[in-house]
Amino acid sequence: MTAPMPATSPIRLHKALTRIWATGPGWQRLAAVNHSVVGIRFMVTAAVFFAIGGMLAMLIRAQLATPGSAFLGPEIYNQIFTMHGTIMMFLFAIPMLEGLALYMLPKMLGARDLAFPRLSAYGYWCYLFGGMILIGALVAGVAPQSGWFMYTPLSSDVYSPGINADVWLLGVTFVEISALTMAVELTVSILKLRAPGMTLARMPIFAWYILVTALMMVVGFPPLILGSILLEMERAFGLPFFDPERGGDPLLWQHLFWLFGHPEVYIIFLPAAGALSTMIPTFAQRPLVGYRAVVASIIVMAFLSFGIWVHHMFTTGIPHLALAFFSLGSALVAVPTAVQMFAWLATLAHGRPRWDVPMLYIFGFIAVFVCGGLTGVMLAMVPFNWQAHDSYFVVAHFHYVLVGGFVFPMLAALYYWMPHVTGRLSVHRLSVPAFWMIFAGFNVTFLTMHLTGLLGMPRRVYTYLGHEGWTGLNLLSSVGSFVLTMGFALIAADIFLQRRFAPRFRRDPWRAGTLEWATPTPPAAYGFASLPRIDVRADSLSPFDIGQQLAAGEGYLGMARNGWQETLGVDITTAEPDQIVILPRPTYLPLILALVTGVAVLSMLFKVYVLAILAAIAVAGLFVWGARSSGQPVDHGPLPIGHGLSAPPHPEAATSPPVLAMGVTLIADGAFFTSLIFGVIYLWLVAPNWPPPEVIEAGLALPLIVAAGLVAGPIAARGAAAALRGKGSVMPWLSAQAVALLTTLAALVWLIAVALPDPQTHGYAAASFALLAYVCLHLGIAGLFVISNANRLRSGHIAPRRDHDLRLTRAWQDFTALSGLIAVGFVVILPWLVTG
């Protein structure tokens, strides 16, 4: 091992770090894992999808401009509005906020990168390929056509034959996998990779917003992924989860969808609000007023948003009491929103407000979003909802919320942070007229739609007759939307000009108070040449001075060591450095992994299941292979990190990022499992055509073998960990674990194949099949852990002081045992209890 290189000059440090961190030129860019690169890719790709979604909206408005238009028929129109909604929600809004968070967070938190760069890159490729599948289907004329929420039975194989609906289910799930990886990545990075001294209570407010958003994604996306998988199983293999004739229930889909779909709106809004809470203090020239109140309101909002999904289902005939409850809950969300609004107003009131282009867009946000919020409160009132639901009033409402609450803040953010990306100031020749065109065009388009809706125009109709009194309003909306589009075109031109011709600046052009402006601009691959210590709230710093000190290597880790990509990990609560996180170099692995995942998705789409299974096995193999050399093959002990402190590399630390990531993953998995259990209970209690004609005949022996096997797994995993610690022999324990896994798996397969009634016959059998398959999948993954452990034990990557693999395995085994016992209980004991 070489001694740390003395930091002689900023230039030499810059060169040394760049050699270590930079992504290679040409084709090697495909191997990029750096958060700045991946973050920008996310945002640019999302912008392209926004343009495509916008084009589709223009087609919609062209068709509806006049009554009886023959421009688009219903086949095409239905695909277009479905794809418009799907693209805007899944391919534009979510990835855009992920990209922003990816790019910004390490810089705001004073870290050099995120915790799992390869995971970010994998997430990006999954997003890109999933999006390409959807766009490809649109071009081929086989795009989904059942609306962006894909209500069953319309989206089932009976009423939507063809691959259109499969494209949605598989393509969107592919993109969701990406969203989940991002959520894990962001949560762990915020909790672990901060500058020393930056406790949670000192984090810049944006990090709080993203932390809550990421946790919401962790629990919010699994219900949708579950719903999509169940619906795809119904479509492909005839398992009747949603078919009322065979003991399924179409409303189950709606519950699962909105369990995700309502929080989704807040998942989109919160990061935008985080950007606002970062920009407004800069322009008010003082730190945010009511930091704690804002943090509290974000958390309250997150909880409330999960409680009110049913408000999208007020017209489905649910019980009165439930209606009252959800109506109240929906109205309550106004409170945390108002708290944030007034915190922003108070910040401006107590500062010295300065007017600039981002502020103009922030004004647009306030005007438009408040309006959307107020119509939202109206819609939360049941009688009004029954009138306005599924009319153009609703279309107007959610565009006020989404465009007001996301697009305007993102445009403000664009003008605010673009100089960071390009290193050039923004000159506002086009940005001001562009704003007024967007603002006026938007309001002409959508204010009008409130009225069209109140006059009874339903949404999702491809034409109207002309005598209803909607004609003039529709024409006005269409004209407005073209003004709106021209505004966006101006912005695109403006950004292009800024990139090419605007003047350069040195550092911190807005006199902001957050750390991202302390990096070089455009950012260097390594972010910070050395890492700061933060002793005050991290939104009242002076980045200009800090930036100079850090570039001179005066902070922590201001050196190049062993060619390692180093950043600091801190204790979650005290924020004292407790490890050096050594990050992976650029690699093609994420791209290859995403390509193989894509093959799996495509072969499911075209129903080549053999290939799908092979690809899935390849994915599993690549995961194990990719993990083979993670971490360190030897112990290093504590290493100096500067300022007289030292810390061990992360494999030797108490809580390393992978350990936390496992925790977060298990929360997501738990949300998935809870949704599944919710579905099973829902079917038992509410679905028509129950009880089932025949139930499982499991006997006693098989369930007992399964239960014993499930419990044996964690015991063996603990044995392995103890043996490692006591320097005993680990291999026998791994073998025992493998035997337990295989036995359990065999017993489960037997249960499914022999004891369970044919899953195609009834919702009961289908749900039981889903539960047991869930357990099988978890056992299989536990098997991968065992293989990887054996492998890494041999290569010395697992050692008494580097035992994280075994801890991960134990956590996974515990979860598998717990969920497995519950699942088997539901399958075996519940029918016995109910049928006597």
């Binding site: 319309l154 009322p244 179409p250 009511g290 009252a324 107003l345 107590h350 408040v370 009138q387 055509n689």
Partner: protein, 185 residues
């Protein structure tokens, strides 16, 4: 409701303008007071009355006592109406309603989810396969109205409309004894 919303909207935009142009004036109120008054007191004043009024109004739309029933059966892409109180009379694509008399519409579907909506009569209700939903309506003066399917239901969702004819009591009985299968001229 519209007036109240406009007032709130004006309040928010007005406050924004105020803090931008007259920050000194607005700074007299402490940060804490801004958040407490605007974030907690304001919603506390506005929301409860709104929720209570709406819940009461909502209960009125919800059937509890017995009134005449009419069945509305949806399928891609038609409506069939049956009148059990009138010897099982059945009409296609046209709904006959008595004026000034509450009626329960019993809504079902044979295939996908549809939604029963007559914009001029308050309320709409989904037709969910495997389920029976009830919506109480009361029509005003006799005359024609229009109804439509309000939940996207596939290819011809747009044209899944129906006519509504509101009759005085005698006319209502008469319309159902002479079977009318086509909309009246």
């Amino acid at each position: 409701m519209i007036a109240g919303s406009t007032a709130l909207f004006a309040l928010m935009v007005g406050l924004f303008a105020l803090v931008i142009w007259r920050p000194h004036w607005a700074a007299q109120v402490s940060g804490r007071s801004w958040i407490i008054w605007g974030g907690l007191v304001l919603p506390a004043l506005v929301l409860p009355p709104l929720v209570v009024v709406s819940l009461i109004a909502g209960e009125r739309l919800m059937p509890s006592d017995a009134v005449p029933r009419i069945e509305a059966e949806a399928r891609q892409w038609h409506w069939t109406f049956r009148y059990p109180d009138h010897g099982g009379a059945e009409t296609e694509g046209i709904l006959h309603l008595p004026s000034g008399q509450p009626v329960d519409i019993v809504i079902t579907s044979l295939d996908v989810i549809h939604s029963f909506w007559v914009p001029r009569l308050a309320g709409k209700m989904d037709a969910v396969p495997g389920r029976v939903n009830v919506l109480r309506v009361m029509a005003g003066a006799p005359g024609p109205l229009e109804g439509l399917c309000a939940e996207f239901c596939g290819l011809d969702h747009t044209t899944m409309r129906f006519d509504v004819q509101v009759h005085d009591p005698e006319g209502f009985a008469a319309a159902l004894t002479t079977p009318v299968f086509a909309p009246p001229p």
